[in-house]
Symmetry: C2
Subunit: 637 residues, 2 copies
């Protein structure tokens, strides 16, 4: 096992944390009992599971797709996290069966990919730019690590180590090896996971190799075009030849250490940046880390939706110009918001700065959570911030990356709440439950209890195995303008203890010590930077970490005609019956009226407005009732 | 000569009117000395003129296009109108030369079309849907009538009568004749002009035949697809098979008498509706007239830009849904605004209702006039209501319909100002100069003098050859909220004499009688119906007939950040030096500020605004200085 030396804190495993939370427990239970079985069923029915039997023959339908393996891998990962906190013999058995199929698909040399074993075996490693072999390998590695950590079973881990060993023999800078990098990043972060669980530095080296292969001149993807046939390179050319040869679509436009602007496909980007952070922290590579920080600032300050969605354009499923954040045409793929969470957690561990946790929380409660329906069986691929009623969650997708991605996120939620270091423990997210952490040479049990995200009264109980001196770091969210903190009912002076967004209480903790944190949580009006042209003259509503939206189901009027005055009274009301129990925002706005218009298209003077009482609901919960309009950004005076 | 029996007034010819106007004289002079020569040069250099020599052989470049004839025809028409009011022996000679070439291109059977004589003679009349033969014929007929009326020379008129006779022999419902209608309407109105100048009812009948061939089931254009080759019908299929077979692109979806909604290509539509009005009035066809009125209401109340532009979509160069009037993506072709003027004048003559004149004036001073630069040598094809600096007038177009169209409009402006009837004379437009009208059995000279459109003080002098009793009708524009009227300094009670937008002063007029009309002309804020989603929360500024816009040259800030408060003071100032002399609007607005923003993309609270003094200029005059942003619809509180 390795211990990263260059990060300020370490993550805790899913198994260390038990969630018992008014908001999340039901979502996690739904994920376990509905989403994970639903996704297995979809994988099974679409042939993705049985494809590992390698029984496909030319003429059979459906033809396996070269990204199918990754869907099953993410399902295994989700199911494994679930197993880690919720024993389930049936699921355990099912996992073993699926893993056995996968193991059976491994080739004598260690290679493992359904498509390039049975459909086009002659094309193995021929089109790294677009054919997702290394991407699938990465997801299977993540699955293997998750399954091993959840169950202690090495079956898939051994398979994937063998595959990784084989990949490491093929790719590299030694004589006889070949250059190459994945067109869709993912294996970089997965190899670091494999390194951390096995301690085998070869995996870390291979990850670094892939990271550094990007942006070479000539590009590895340009060299592929020299031998790929017209047909085999059609998709490459579509994405790489838009304005001359340009591989920014897959972040291959510059060596990664020189990159400062987030470009291209957003999921690819987020996975790459996560992998870069992992490599940087494990190798002490400050140059790489500086690139990560520059890219982070660019994404968060110039290219992120208020929901934490990233990648605004449908054309490249990715990034465009700075401040180009259209609402109705937003792409904001669920996987990209999840990728941002992965990246945020890594940066947080490196820098111990709550601004990363703020973004992690923003994406979690909004742009990622919107990706799955409350009943757990429908999914958004695309998460617009405005709709005219024509965008709805679906049960599955031909390209099904998002459903198992949100499942693995929710199943592993426990691992995002806390972190630990030799001297400190951290609470990033306020999610009720218990955790067993290790710090100051002792085991510390931490319990938190709150009604978060609907209210900001949080109680944290500290139970060290024995009294111990360490820092307890409580995140003061960026959205909170006023926080009060008391230890054993003695109020603390926040100003003196808050650093980088964490209130650090360093003391000798006794079993039973209690910390109370109150985060003031009024309804807030959010303004976007005026460079975001679509949001000029508009505000979003937020409360705590939750972004709200207007839905036609509550507001049966043209939503574009609702205008929020600056002094509009806004009230938060918890509605237990609504959408699984949500806080809704009620407010007095104005509605542009057309009752005083005749046939005329234009008239002198102004439009008239009449009072209108509106209701806003959490963005993540939209599209659960009648199809209709939705708006996050509300016209405002 | 015919006399239409079903219209309330008749147009006057260009030759009856002498314009001596502060606003228009310079434009007309520029049209005569710059635009018309420039367009001749373009037609000459691109081969359009010499193509009539029929010397083209396979392999020669350029290949004549099947719409080339129409460009030359519209140039002849423009030059002829110019000649009617401004003798010019050189232009007269040049016209004779060009007309001689055209006459020489006429085939023994009367047929006259360069493309289908020299390039693909075997395809004559094969693709009425898309190949513009009848469209070109129509423009040549209009040219012939204009040249005959301007010069008394019958050369082109005779040629075109012979062509029309041939067309009338080919198309019709008699045995041996064929069905058919032009895919691009134009010949309908041209044939009525030919009928009016020759008195030959056959031309009127042929026009009615073409009008009534539209919308038959099966469509005439569907029947063409049965024999056209894949290649010859590619463009037909592109436009006619978007959602199943649908010829609404060329208004062929329903019999014209059943139409109520303006659809399809906007220039085609406006020319058709003009032709329908002509046929209706000449044949006393009330059913057809009712269709014209329904279509008019639909266009003006649901589908017209505030500039008088019509046809909002680039995809079909035409109409879309009601209230779908995007600003930056507006199509609003110059030819379509001109077509609307043609149609408006026809409806005005039929119904004597100033609402038609209001639209005619709106399009004239805004969406049509914007089509030509102040120096007369650059043209807009597309007239958006917002630009980010990437839209500019050009010297010519491959498809060059707009430049000669605006030239013929300006050269014939005199014919839009007045009308006459046996009992009345009408003043529709306030353009200084003199006219010789006929009413009450006498000749009446009318002079008007004003600073229109920059101010509304108008003096009209009436000089009947001898004292005579008739109605003088002065249009009280729809944009005017307060008008005062005095005859020989005796103020009139408008309320009792204004009907359908005209103040009718019926009296025995003596030579030297003077009427003074004062039209109050404040700066107005214009609101669009709230169904126009793009204009919610925005206003346009107008003064008199002129619509204004913001341009970056005057307002070097992001124009989307300018916000006009309801109580903003707005002042009109004449600036003699600016853009040929214009009234500009100065106003105190607010500018959304970003000076108090750091790196953050979102923040709580509102954006701040600071006072900002803006300048707006007439829309028609935009894009004459530095390339930059432009907005007609300004954000407003």
């Amino acid at each position: 096992m390795s211990q990263a030396t260059n990060r300020k804190m370490s993550p805790v495993s899913v198994a260390q944390v038990a969630i018992d939370d008014g908001f999340w427990s039901q979502r996690i239970e739904t994920n376990r009992t509905k989403t994970i079985p639903h996704e297995y069923k979809q994988c099974k029915e679409t042939g993705r599971i049985d494809a590992f039997d390698l029984a496909w023959k030319p003429g059979d339908e459906p033809v396996p797709h070269y990204f199918w393996d990754s869907d099953v891998a993410k399902w295994i990962e989700a199911a494994s996290y679930s197993l880690a906190t919720h024993p389930d013999p049936e699921l355990d058995k099912l996992l073993d069966e699926v893993i056995e199929k996968i193991a059976g698909a491994q080739q004598p040399d260690g290679y493992l990919n359904v498509y390039f074993t049975v459909v086009e075996p002659e094309k193995r490693w021929k089109n790294l730019g677009m054919w997702h072999e290394l991407y699938c390998a990465g997801h299977l590695m993540e699955a293997a690590v998750a399954h091993y950590e959840a169950t202690g079973k090495r079956r898939l881990l051994d398979v994937m180590c063998r595959y990784a060993d084989y990949i490491a023999s093929v790719f590299g800078s030694n004589p006889g090896q070949r250059y190459g990098a994945p067109g869709h990043e993912e294996i970089e972060l997965a190899l670091v996971k494999l390194y951390r669980v096995t301690g085998d530095r070869k995996y870390l080296e291979l990850s670094r190799f892939f990271v550094d292969q990007r942006g070479q001149n000539p590009s590895v993807f340009q060299r592929e075009l020299e031998y790929l046939s017209e047909e085999d390179s059609r998709i490459n050319r579509y994405f790489f030849e838009r304005n001359g040869f340009d591989t920014s679509y897959c972040q291959d436009h510059l060596p990664v250490r020189e990159q400062s602007e987030a470009v291209g496909h957003a999921v690819r980007a987020a996975y790459l940046y996560s992998g870069m952070a992992d490599v940087a922290v494990e190798t002490g590579d400050e140059e790489l880390l500086r690139a990560c920080r520059r890219l982070w600032d660019n994404v968060v300050n110039k290219k992120m939706y208020v929901t934490g969605g990233i990648g605004s354009s449908r054309l490249n499923e990715g990034f465009t110009e700075e401040y180009d954040l259209p609402n109705r045409d937003a792409y904001a793929e669920t996987c990209a918001a999840i990728g941002l969470i992965f990246w945020a957690q890594r940066m947080l561990h490196i820098d111990a700065d709550a601004r990363y946790a703020d973004v992690m929380e923003r994406a979690l409660y909004n742009g990622a959570l919107s990706g799955v329906s409350i009943d757990g069986e429908k999914f958004f691929y695309v998460n617009p911030l405005a709709s005219n009623g024509d965008h709805h969650r679906q049960e599955w997708f031909g390209c099904a990356c998002c459903p198992p991605n949100i499942a693995r996120l929710i199943a592993s939620l426990g691992s995002y709440i806390y972190s630990e270091s030799p001297s400190d423990v951290y609470i990033h997210l306020y999610i009720s439950g218990q955790a067993e952490l290790n710090t100051a040479g002792t085991r510390v049990k931490i319990s938190q209890q709150s009604g978060y995200p609907w209210n900001g009264d949080i109680e944290v109980k500290i139970e060290p195995a024995e009294a111990a001196e360490f820092g307890l770091n409580l995140r003061i969210p960026g959205w909170c303008r006023k926080a009060t903190l008391a230890v054993n009912d003695v109020e603390m002076d926040n100003a003196s203890i808050v650093r980088s967004g964490y209130a650090r209480i360093y003391r000798r903790w006794q079993p039973g010590d209690t910390v109370r944190l109150n985060l003031d949580m009024p309804v807030e009006r959010v303004a976007a930077h005026p460079n975001v042209v679509e949001n000029i003259g508009r505000v979003a509503l937020s409360r705590g970490p939750v972004i709200f939206c207007l839905e036609e189901a509550d507001n049966p009027v043209p939503l574009e005609r609702i205008v929020l005055p600056r002094d509009a009274k806004l009230t938060a009301v918890f509605d237990e019956e609504l959408l699984g129990g949500v806080v809704k925002i009620k407010g007095e706005a104005l509605l542009i009226d057309d009752a005083d218009w005749g046939d005329e298209l234009y008239r002198f003077g102004s439009v008239t407005m009449r009072p209108y009482s509106f209701t806003a609901i959490p963005y993540y919960a939209w599209d659960h009732r009648m199809p209709g309009q939705m708006r996050v950004w509300i016209r405002s005076l």
